[in-house]
């Protein structure tokens, strides 16, 4: 019924697990723990990695992530690394704040726990770094952690201005399977935002988890059509199933309009012709149809 040729102002994320801020530093020779960042002459070297297109435009929201240290020699404090396919694997660590911020002492007062990782080229030397070994359990043994694939973030639009992509009617995108992090779509009079569905069965998903479905499939020399002909569903985040209330208690209603096949939520519906928001309405009624309460969502 409704098929839209893709019209995008937003970003797409390729199938993956972890985002790197790809401002990587390297060292040619193995170093001691305290000299991991610098060569003996106190100079730094930048690794030539190209998967940085969304991150090298300056300080905008695509540059989110965490600065990490990377070099081409293993770190002595790591007990064991896995066997690599590449002859030139990368070795690094990234600090994470595991204790939260100390009030009044700055943003990074506790950001000191190192998590070590290694990046491999699963197809062989020189074929591209695409496999991440990350010491998630912090036991200094990278052989025991699940293998991760790297995220690639792609910004779609004419250009990025103040952290937002300006819309474009068409754009060439690297081949791959994507999940939208945010699309704004115009369809006739309707304008809407398409976002990942963050709920599952009424529960909020872990935002750190990868998308469940990669509904955007870019293939060589074929235009992609974002297909909205699937039957939409309304997913209730609240009230919970089998909720029981007493008179005087608050009934909270929150729902999402979702495309279960694309695993996206449609929000911010706006009628451009009438210039009005199309907020979903809520009606609470008895089984005989008598209205008890009504309003717009979020309700309650």
């Amino acid at each position: 019924m409704s098929k839209l040729r893709i019209s995008i102002a937003g970003g797409l994320v390729v199938a993956a697990v972890a985002v790197f801020r790809a401002q990587l530093q390297s060292q040619g020779e193995p170093q001691g723990e305290n000299s991991a960042l610098l060569r003996p002459d106190n100079t730094e070297q930048v690794v030539k990695l190209r998967e940085v297109s969304a991150l090298d435009r300056g300080r905008d929201r695509f540059q989110g992530g965490q600065l990490c240290v990377c070099r081409n020699a293993p770190f002595g404090e790591v007990k064991a690394y896995p066997e690599f396919v590449s002859g030139k694997p990368l070795f690094g660590w990234i600090p994470f704040d595991t204790k939260g911020h100390k009030p009044g002492s700055g943003r990074h007062s506790y950001s000191g726990m190192r998590y070590y990782f290694a990046v491999d080229e699963s197809k062989g030397t020189g074929r591209g770094y695409d496999r991440l070994y990350f010491d998630a359990n912090h036991d200094m043994d990278l052989r025991k952690d699940p293998v991760l694939k790297l995220w690639l973030m792609v910004a779609i639009g004419r250009e990025v201005v103040n952290g937002s992509a300006i819309e474009a009617r068409s754009r060439r995108v690297p081949v791959g399977d994507y999940s939208p992090t945010g699309l704004q779509i115009q369809f006739g009079q309707l304008r809407l935002d398409v976002l990942p569905n963050r709920y599952s069965d009424g529960r909020f998903r872990d935002p750190g988890q990868p998308p469940r479905i990669y509904g955007v499939h870019i293939r060589p020399d074929k235009p992609f059509v974002l297909d909205f002909s699937n039957q939409p569903e309304v997913l209730f985040a609240a009230p919970a199933r089998d909720l029981r209330l007493k008179p005087g208690e608050t009934l909270y209603v929150a729902a999402l309009l979702v495309d279960p096949r694309l695993d996206v939520a449609m929000m911010g519906l706006y009628d451009q012709g009438a210039r009005r928001r199309l907020d979903p309405t809520v009606v609470v009624s008895r089984l005989n149809g008598e209205k008890v309460a009504e309003g717009v969502m979020p309700f309650g």
């Binding site: 409704s2 369809f187 006739g188 009079q189 309707l190 809407l192 909205f228 939409p232 569903e233 309304v234 209730f236 009230p239 199933r241 089998d242 909720l243 029981r244 209330l245 007493k246 008179p247 005087g248 208690e249 608050t250 009934l251 209603v253 729902a255 309009l257 449609m266 519906l269 009628d271 199309l278 979903p280 309405t281 809520v282 009606v283 609470v284 009624s285 008895r286 089984l287 008890v292 309460a293 969502m297």
Partner: protein, 40 residues
């Protein structure tokens, strides 16, 4: 729920209906979820 809500019997089931107007995309979309109002 209103404090003065009168319910029939010890409990009554109410329907919570959410209504979306998506214009020409999907048209009007409705969904209903029952909730139970009880005296105790």
């Amino acid at each position: 729920m209103p404090n003065d809500l009168k319910i029939s019997g010890n409990q009554e089931t109410l329907n919570v209906q959410v209504h979306y107007d998506t214009l020409e995309l999907y048209g009007k979309v409705d969904a209903t979820r029952p909730v139970t109002i009880c005296r105790q």
